[in-house]
């Protein structure tokens, strides 16, 4: 059920946790675990979409921009309906006015967030499937488009979302488990189920393994790929919703490196960059690796920017190990 690569990454996670906990025991407290889990949620949702796409041999590097755009679209709609504006003074955003009609505002905002994510996923999918644009290039273009729209809509200001979203979902805990963590856990279980148990997962792996084999088996590869991009877009929309629910403000610029973390986590976890292999739980452990590094470095007083350096190095090392193993396996076959 758990691939060997996932096991090794889980072991590295434990070692890193032990090293950081030795320097700051708070990491091993319930609060430490909650922090790591909550900080993992958004990247994990993006990584789940990336895992599926990588399994099919495709990329979406616009998922971070999608997250940012979805959160800004949702907040803009909610501000418009709720009669609120946001101004920035000395670089700090302030909400002007109070949200009205919350019973209407919040469902509309949630729907807008998800629809925005799904639409961007659909646009990516159509570019790749209908116009046959390489997925890396198509989503690079869409990244720029989405960022542009995000800054046009927000005016470069972090928009204020209703605090009721925080109390009702973002900061809500049920039986001690934060609600956003539950959403991410459900998404992981769903990913595992789809990949391990259903024909959708098997066909995804088949088209990543050998696209021509899938075509000749009579599978509508284009439609399947479109669905995968829509799923990745939808998950970015959910991540956007969680973002504004946790912080009550949008922060689109903070998610520009999220696709790197998401794709790196999937690959570090054992999902093949060239398609055909998916490690669902490996992706979870890969995401935890990035979060433990981030939280651990911050607790050590080291700038979290070093996290990017470390993740990049880990990614290169892991991929080179996998490539060596793959070449040896092929030579031995």
């Amino acid at each position: 059920m758990i691939r060997r690569s996932a096991f090794w990454v889980a072991l590295i996670d434990l070692v890193l946790l032990a090293v950081f906990a030795a320097m700051n025991p708070v990491l091993l407290s319930i609060q430490g675990a909650r922090t790591i889990a909550l900080d993992s949620v958004e990247v994990l949702l993006l990584a789940i979409g990336s895992t599926l796409l990588l399994g099919a041999g495709k990329f979406d590097i616009s998922i971070g921009a999608n997250l940012g755009l979805s959160s800004v679209v949702a907040t803009s709609v909610m501000q418009h309906v709720g009669g609120v504006t946001t101004i920035a003074q000395y670089g700090v955003s302030h909400q002007v006015g109070t949200y009205h009609h919350l019973a209407l505002v919040i469902p509309i905002g949630v729907a807008a967030c998800l629809v925005s994510g799904l639409l961007m996923g659909t646009a990516n999918g159509l570019l790749v499937v209908r116009l046959r644009v390489n997925s890396l290039i198509a989503t690079l273009g869409m990244l720029s488009v989405a960022e542009g729209i995000t800054f046009v809509l927000s005016g470069g200001v972090n928009l204020a979302a209703p605090t009721e979203l925080q109390s009702g979902f973002g900061l809500l805990s049920i039986a001690g488990i934060p609600a956003p963590v539950m959403v991410a856990a459900a998404a992981v279980v769903l990913l595992w189920f789809v990949v391990a148990k259903t024909s959708f997962g098997m066909r995804t792996l088949a088209m990543g393994s050998e696209p021509e084999a899938a075509v000749r088996a009579g599978i509508d590869v284009g439609r399947h790929q479109l669905v995968l991009f829509v799923i990745a877009g939808g998950l970015a929309g959910v991540a956007g919703l969680i973002d504004i629910s946790r912080f009550a403000f949008t922060n689109a610029a903070a998610h520009l490196t999220d696709p790197l973390a998401a794709i790196a986590a999937a690959v570090i976890g054992g999902t093949a960059l060239s398609g055909g292999i998916i490690s669902s739980f490996g992706t979870v452990f890969g995401v935890l690796l990035t979060t433990i590094l981030e939280v651990g470095l911050v607790l050590m007083g080291v700038s979290s920017y070093y996290q990017l350096v470390v993740i990049g190095v880990v990614l290169i090392v892991v991929v080179s190990i996998y490539e060596t193993r793959r070449r040896r396996a092929e030579a031995g076959a």
Binding site: T198, F200, E210, G218, A333
Partner: protein, 272 residues
Amino acid sequence: MRSDAGRSPAAPQASPAEAALAVVDVCKSFGHVQALTDVSLSAYPGQVLALFGDNGAGKSTLMKIMCGALQPDTGTIRVGDYEAPGLSIQRAQSLGIQAVYQDLSLAPHLMVLENMFLGHELYRSRWPGFLHVLDRRRMAMETVEALERISIRLPSVHVPVMKLSGGQRQAVAVARAVRWARRAVLMDEPTAALGRVQSDLVVDTIRATARANLAVVVVSHDIPRMLEVADQVAVMRHGRIVAHGSAADFTLARIVGLMVGEESRTAPRDER
């Protein structure tokens, strides 16, 4: 024996049954290049038809037209009651025609049983149908049966195809084609890049496929080995069928002579 050079001969008169698959007066050109000219050929249930020819003779084009990957410019394709100017891959598959491509078209990361059922998956009945939950146990059992039907034994059907040898992969591709074929199996260079032992395995598989009462059409450069297994032989040159008849009437030297245009060349039968 027939050697009607320059004209495509009809199917041999002593046909044991109605043709499983036939092309009639098929022409195909690519730009100014005439790939096929008035080609007529029939494949019969339970028989192996070996198609020989030099590179560029039109063998692969003919195979692609037979399995629906290419459409002819003129001519007719007959499969049972179906008669039309062309086929799509999907239509060919629905009519019971399966092809084994030279590249095998297997997904290397997928297990043998998954490759066998890709596009034809079996689902578990106790889960809601829309979830399409795979019944891997039944797929594994049926994969073993499909392999055994053509006398193939693999250590396990749960291993990824990439772990198999070239011959075993070829066997899986053939077994899959046989599993889903109801009329004919077309094979393009089934022994290319295989060693002797693996090629023997493929030849055994071809025999077993014909025994399952399917028509088998094989394109191959491995003339001696294919002569061991063929019932009918057709030789192509410059997009035409230059000879067609019972395999017993062909020798290696004669086939080579026909391929290169030296039709008078003959050889003793023991050369085969």
